[in-house]
Amino acid sequence: MTFLNEIGVFALVCAFVLSVAQVALVAAGQWKRLSGIERYSEGVSLAAALSLILSFAILIAAFVRSDFSVVNVYEHSHTDKPLLYKISGAWGSHEGSMLLWCVIMLSFGALITLLGRGLPDSLKHKALGIQGLLGAAFVGFTLFSSNPLGRLAEAPLQGRSLNPALQDPALAFHPPMLYLGYVGLSVVFSFAVAALIEGRLDRAWARWVRPWVLAAWVCLTIGITLGAYWAYYELGWGGWWAWDPVENASFMPWLAATALLHSAIVMEKRDALKAWTVFLAILAFTFSMMGAFLVRSGLLTSVHAFAVDPQRGILLLTILFVTAGLGFALFALRVPELKPGGLFAAVSREASLVLNNLLLSAALLSVFLGTLYPLLMQALVDKAMSVGGPYYLAVFGPIMLAAIAIIPISQLMSWKRSDLKGVVQRLGLAFGVACLSAAIGSLFYGGAGVWKQVTFFVGLLAGFWLIWGSLRLLMERVGFGAAAWRKFTALPLATHGMILAHVGLGIFVLGAVVEGHSRISIQQGMQVGDTVRLAGYEMTFTGTYRQDGANYDAQGGIFVIEKNGRQVCEARPQRRFYPASGSMQSKVWLCFEPLNDLYVVLSQPQESVGGKPVWQVRWFYNPWVRLIFLGPVLMALGGVLSLFDRRLRLGVATKARKLKEAV
């Protein structure tokens, strides 16, 4: 008889005890007699992370082996599931996802040890202590209230399977990426609290913290995009973002991290905005923890939310209040001691980044209010209400529009003092081209109503302005002629990353504006042989088919889509029946035009007319929707490029060797 699952539980316990030891060692090191003992926290952080990785690997093994004596496996897996979804089932539940959260958190602690050899020992150990404290809190919560390897004496004969909507490649990778982002911000939080304890907040601190923020931001960007893409093609509603509170829970840390990324630049370059940067560092992780609380407290009903009892929600809320409270209390105590940094003029790159930060913070506040207000109303006065798209369009939209408008200007400004008139003149051509592009786009897609036309034009202008404005910066740095390529390759990777990220944002804006303005859809009962028309396309229902999947049986429709008499696509949407859970799932079919999607959803057949069943078919024409997903990929790629910039690279072995030689 093997005891792999029990070894996994033991490893989880070890990780908890080691995390507590990590905190204790750092705390003991503050006592003069034991000064230096905190160095052992480095090895302890590695051991704790490895222990938890072992535990997580054993949980995955339990899913792969369909060991239903593990409650979590019984409730979220089935022998018929494909291997990928058996593995992803490990983080498809509350318990498993908490373990993944902890694995990432402790691994980041280990990374501080492995990559932080260039950091001052004192700061590094304090950061390890805080990271250990967070690790102990979350591993403790997982171990004592949400044990992912909890056992059943007698394994049931079969598992209950995983929600079919979650059996999707995008969703298999969405949670790990999102958690890398959420928990990556915990390192920033730890560095912020450590720096506040040390009383040392300077440019060097910003330099050490920036790569962590950037890495977390990249992962959050990819994670949110994967989630949006999954919602788009899996849920069959034709949209990609619904301002669902759980979506907002991931978006708020992203906004905070974006603001932090920019304020950290100001702090690094100009030694300014110290208090604001450290405040954002604490705030960003607080929002990450709030996201974890929202999806696990039972407060929300959402396709994303784990149905969990409120007691565990209260425990998470306690962790949130204690850790965030500790951070903010320390911040309040230390802020008066922080010396103001470098001065700058009202017209300067610093000032424009401050304005960018204020606007991002206002946007964050608008999302925060929109998310929590209905929950508070429900809790306090038992009044059900929802805040949807129109609110965000009216409040969040204009704020972000203003933030976008200043990005190209900010990019061309100089540090300390700049010449606004000169910058505007340099951007004149880019603005003209953006106006022209937006005008052409408006003419092409048109639409009824002056107000709608104006908002559409403004939206397009924002996207094109961002793209052309960013390219203008590239042009200035590189120029034309024979030397252009040499200059292009000589540009720092961080500059390439910044331009790419801003172009990516512009591309996303264009996609969101055009898709939001010009999306059209039709819903109709169709019999085989029927034809419908939409946006110049003609779709004919030519037949049905059956397919035996790995763990489902599908019934599908075959639709031939033509434009101007030429076949552009054969759509084969499906209705899938998953016997293990006894549930049906619509599988959307996407026809890729270069930028646009033809999106076909098949609902279940209804009463037969003339002996032939009538299928409810929804058909969307989503123009430029590809850009919505391409933009964030470019943004993330920009972040990755910046991460590889020599100036931002985290301490690696070569540096450690150099330091050793120096010693």
Binding site: E6, F10, R39, G43, D67, R151, A153, L157
Partner: protein, 364 residues
Amino acid sequence: MIGLVLTCVVIAAALIAIVGLWHRRAPAIDALALAKAQYEGFVVDVERREGRGDIDAELANEERVEAARALLKAEAAATPAYSLKPAHAAIGAFAVAGISFALYALYIGHPELGDQPYETRVVQWTDAARRNIDSLPPEALSAVLHRRASEPDNVKNPDFWLFLGKVDMMAGRYYEAAKAFDTSMKLSPKTFTGWSDLGEALYFVAGGSVGPDSQKAFDLALAQDPKDARAHYYLGRRDLDQGRYDSARAHFVTAKAALAVDDIRQNAIAEQLAAVETAQSGEAAARTRIAGMVAALEAQLTEQPDNADGWARLLRSYDVMGDAAGKARVLKEMQAHYRDRPQVAADIVQKSKGAVGAENTGGQ
């Protein structure tokens, strides 16, 4: 159990070894030397950026001054490093391992529970089935048979699939059962005897109703054996649900007669027959009540005929009662009353097709 304890000891020792090895591998870097190295690296970087024109001379100088300040601060803060005595380190290591094991053994873990991977269980079930097939619960037997379904002897054996379907039915896996019966039927359509099994499986797959597929299966079962009790039973239930009580009674009576007197299914059929009687008498009472209400409404419309909602309700009532002649008579009377207002008459007819008056929760 001993294996588990030993493994836990090895894991704890390995984790403690990692702590020790890392500590030995990464001796304390003299903070002052580190600060000097950082200062030198920073200055080189500033000069590189200045030389390339990324920063101006003023900013470069400012950065150099800032770095020098940090170096002076590090010099002031430099303290000698502490070294842990081996005995203290061992006590600490044992404490961590001991607390972990105590927490596991006394509070969290279940050292008595071994792993139960599915593959191992299927092997155990297969062995048990070979010894005594009746000793296995249907769910386990179903798992064993499904595992054996791909064996060459079984793939094209209609009897195997028929048996598998019956086991799946007992295990409550109706969808899988229907698929197994369907496979058996496709392998041997002419000799297939499981039509009523297939119909029953499809009945449960459809959530307890006879759909077109199960209807077809039951019809074929009755074509093979006109006294097939199961087909009669489910067709009777369908008729009962649809209010065709006489037909339902006939099906149940045939099914009852087809079964042996001591067959335990007799009880279920008796229950259904009682349900037919109850439903039929209940419907008769309801019809009488509705007829009374209709008569009252008719009398009211005779006295006050200008009541569009009343006419619509009356037409709807005759529709519900299935009294076509009554409906035609009322329609004629209503049209006569509204002959100078044909649009109102048309609206009443349209309205009578949906829920009317009190039935309409949308309000009038």
